[in-house]
Amino acid sequence: MAGLYIHIPYCRQKCHYCNFYSLASRKYRELLPEALQQEMILQKDYLTGETLHTIYIGGGTPTVYPPQVIAEIILAATKQFKTDARAEINIEANPDDLLPDYLHQLRKTPVNRLSIGIQSFHDDDLHYLNRNHSAANAYQAIRNALAAGFDNLNVDLIYGIPGLTDKKWGENIKTVLDFHIPHISAYALTVEPGTALDKLINKKKLPPVEEQQAADQFVMLMEMMAAAGYEHYEISNFCKPGQYARHNTSYWQGISYLGIGPSAHAFDGRSRQWNVSNLEAWLQGIRSHKPAFEREILSPAQQLNEYVMTSLRTMWGTDLQTIQSRFGAGFRQMVLQQAASFQKQGLVFINEDIITLTQRGKLFADGIAAELFVEDSEKTLPE
């Protein structure tokens, strides 16, 4: 079982908060699809013959390309990699691209899941974020997608935006619930260093992000989604029972994946690699048959830390038995000991060897994960 990620590095306009690799230009746009296919050929052995169960086309804005091009890319992928007939094939889309005709064409491709970057149903928030669409576009896009027959939908929302009152945030949540969207990803607005948002806030051209607001709105979100019967299966992800995003979930379960396109990441269980975040350098690498990427091999402690960090964020939790069988009883003991102190503080549950976050713990997932981390130099205790 494996996943394939394909990165489309183009946007019509850069959102202020975005720190993904994407360009607001058309440079090399005609060359990219062919180059992506070339890279698949060059990397066809990376997944050692494992069957793809997900293909995820992300960006940037993949919908800058017409559905035919998307179809070609998917076809190329299935040629190089054995693909499960029921594979989840997801594409990220911006509301302004989701016109009836486009969606109608897209339905004819193997794409079977649509992830729409709505972010907010209020124009002032979209303006703060420098999104390319309006609130009206947002409503229309969802309606069009549903009308075109895309029922496996995800909607992205952002909270903690200055100006997004609790009332407005409640409305946003209610809107997606009213549409019966099966999957919702809701992110706290994060000011990443070096982004336009970071600079604009520093220059006092935009109001800063308030932590208290984000915390309150996260709690609101958890309460409303639970009341609507959604599973809170990862910090930022909610779905109707069982409708997990399979591609993203595989990231949290340590499943191998290959990344194609500039800046895309890949993981084979023991090492991670990432393509150069530069379109020209990436193209050059493909042309010369020497893909430009960096690679790091994970030590046992680093593997364990990644396992803890990702699994703790999910409702399935961190399994001490998994730690014991993969990393030894010593590490298990260390993690358990730390977790026990968090249990006393009401931040985690430990139940039948599974550590999960409490509602309050979910607000402090990073700090808790960091404390559960181990170091390579630490000797594991005798069995």
Binding site: I235, E296, F364, F373
Partner: protein, 597 residues
């Protein structure tokens, strides 16, 4: 003896002493091409990096004049910082001449002047050298005016050079032969050799550097160090070239080293006199002092388990730094550590950095204190170098604090700001002299405690780096001191307590609280930071509780970056200290030393 020249170099930091010294070594073929490293004389990494000489060293060169006569040059390097002025004075005492190196772009600095006066006091022949003549910003005529004013030399006596290009360096060598007097002294008289430095060598033990004034020393002589009264066999004597070169005999005028199985640096005191046990000299060479540490601070291992390792490291450090003293101490906040004595603030920083670099020790240093003298009602005088060591108010008669005389040289436009700074620090203006039309020397009487904090950094910033500063201890004076405590959520943090002048306590307490608010990370509850004198709270700040600590996105590309971030965070946390329920980073203990930065 007539072909020996013993000289030192007097220069301000960055005026190019080491580069110029390297040129001298080059021209005299003292260094083989293979051994060449930039700035040979400063051999500790730290020294090279900071561009300063911490410990003095010596090196011998052979210079052949045009008419074919060989001269033996002994260059005795001098430490370049205020904290080491006693060591400088001993190096100077070992010489007959001094190169006064002045940066042609910057002119004379305070440090240079005080060392120059030391050299003049010891009747050294001064050879003024104007360095960095290759730079466009050089202002040779102005700086020559300063030099002529200062030492009353002939304008033509000033040698223009560039250590960088090598210009004029040959003339320095000629001037050393012509102007520096040959040593005098009687090789037949009883042995009298001045120890001006010592280094520790892990194979040979302590190697003491000396200059012989009278008499002759032979290998295997039975010698005595006068001040310590200890006696040794001179297992090996020799001269200092690029390495040690053993000799059978050395006599009056020579500079060299002695190895005599000494294991502890404490046995070798700079300024001590070496003589023969059988035929001792009448009196020791004058000027000897027992150097006493003036600044004290606690040094604690970040990880309490490293206490023994810290002790080992400190002992090793002490081997080549006899002026460092330490004794065990414990703190409620920091556990077990050491109370350490330093010559000054720079010395303290050097020790901290060496612990880090050479021994890989993570340490926390507490607020430094000077050495106070507490007079009790019973008539006792107690040395206090720790806030907890202050006698209770019931038996305390009064306290005296060490005073310094500070000399500051600066461009005249900054004098106003400098005076304000000194007056703020309880200084008393003593003198003000215009060295040239735009360079002023001011002298202040200041409490040492006032410069222990951030005085030097402050001085540099208000003078845009122009002011130079030098001081020496003058004595003690009564002071109105209070003990200022810092409390975190009501718990006093002993490692942050300070003894401070009453008038400064309020400002200081407020600044401490503000700084700590910046440095203490937010925790899951509010943290109250308070400054208190006794039971009276004089300042308060709050670190607001953390509301949320969770990454929004954690997908394929985020995992590696996020893990590294959290691993780093965990490492940082490991270095924190638990005070009550509050986690305090190491930086909080350090930052109080530099409150304004």
């Amino acid at each position: 003896m007539k072909n020996i020249r013993n000289f030192c170099i007097i220069a301000h930091i960055d005026h190019g002493k080491s580069t110029l010294a390297d040129r001298l070594l080059d021209l005299t073929h003292t260094i083989g091409e293979r051994d060449k490293k930039e700035q040979v004389l400063d051999s500790m990494d730290l020294e090279r990096e900071r561009g300063i000489t911490i410990k003095s060293h010596a090196i011998q060169m052979v210079y052949k004049t045009d008419d074919g006569v060989d001269y033996l040059f002994n260059l005795i390097d001098t430490p370049g910082h205020v904290d080491f002025s006693y060591e400088v004075s001993r190096s100077i005492a070992a010489c007959e001449g001094a190169l006064l190196i002045v940066d042609a772009t910057q002119g004379i600095q305070a440090q240079t002047i005080s060392n120059l006066y030391l050299a003049i006091d010891h009747n050294l022949e001064i050879i003024p050298v104007l360095n960095k003549m290759d730079l466009e910003a050089a202002m040779p005529e102005d700086v020559k005016d300063q030099i002529v004013d200062l030492i009353g030399c002939d304008r033509d006596d000033i040698i223009e050079t560039s250590g960088k290009t090598g210009f004029g360096v040959e003339r320095i060598l000629e001037a050393i032969v012509e102007r520096v007097p040959a040593p005098s002294g009687d090789p037949k008289a009883p042995l009298q050799a001045l120890i001006f430095d010592s280094v520790y060598n892990s194979y040979r033990g302590i190697i003491a550097y000396f200059r012989i004034f009278n008499g002759t020393i032979r290998k295997n002589d039975f010698v005595k160090f006068v001040a310590t009264g200890r006696e040794y066999n001179a297992d090996e004597i020799g001269v200092l070239c690029m390495g040690l070169q053993p000799r059978e005999t050395m006599e009056a005028g020579d500079v060299g080293y002695i190895i005599s199985g000494i294991k502890s640096s404490k046995e070798v005191k700079v300024g001590d006199t070496i003589t023969h046990v059988d035929n001792p000299c009448g009196e020791m060479i004058s000027g000897f002092e027992n150097v006493k540490p003036m600044v004290f601070a606690g040094i604690y291992p970040v990880d309490a388990d490293d206490y023994e390792e810290l002790r080992n490291s400190m002992e090793k450090l002490q081997l080549n730094d006899a002026s460092l003293t330490f004794e065990p101490e414990s703190s409620a906040a920091l556990g077990f550590g050491f109370r350490c004595g330093f010559l000054g603030l720079l010395h303290m920083e050097i020790v901290q950095e060496r612990l880090d670099r050479e021994f890989d020790m993570d340490v926390i240093t507490t607020v430094p204190n000077v050495n106070y003298k507490a007079y009790t009602t019973k008539g006792e005088v107690i040395d206090v170098h720790n806030p907890s060591g202050m006698p209770g108010p019931n038996i305390l008669e009064h306290v005296e604090e060490p005073m310094i005389q500070a000399h500051i040289i600066s461009k005249s436009e900054y004098v106003g700001a400098i005076m304000n700074l000194c007056i703020d620090r309880r200084g008393e203006l003593q003198n003000q002299v215009y060295l040239t039309s735009d360079r002023v020397e001011v002298s202040f009487m200041l409490p040492l405690a006032e410069i222990v904090f951030d005085f030097y950094d402050k001085l540099k910033s208000i003078s845009r780096g122009y002011a130079s500063f030098d001081y020496h201890i003058t004595g003690y004076q009564p002071a109105k001191l209070v003990r200022l405590d810092i409390l975190l959520n009501g718990e006093p943090v002993d490692a942050l307590s300070t003894l401070i002048h009453h008038d400064n306590a309020y400002t200081f307490g407020r600044r401490m609280c503000e700084k700590l608010r910046e440095l203490i990370p937010r925790q899951q509850f509010d943290v109250a930071i308070q400054a208190a004198i006794g039971a009276k709270i004089i300042a308060r700040e709050t670190v607001k509780a953390l509301r949320k600590d969770v990454t929004a996105k954690c997908y394929g590309g985020d995992i590696s970056r996020k893990r590294k971030l959290l691993e780093k965070q965990k490492k940082g946390k490991k270095r924190m200290r638990q005070v009550g329920n509050v986690e305090v980073p190491q930086s909080a203990f350090l930052a109080v030393l530099k409150l304004d930065s």
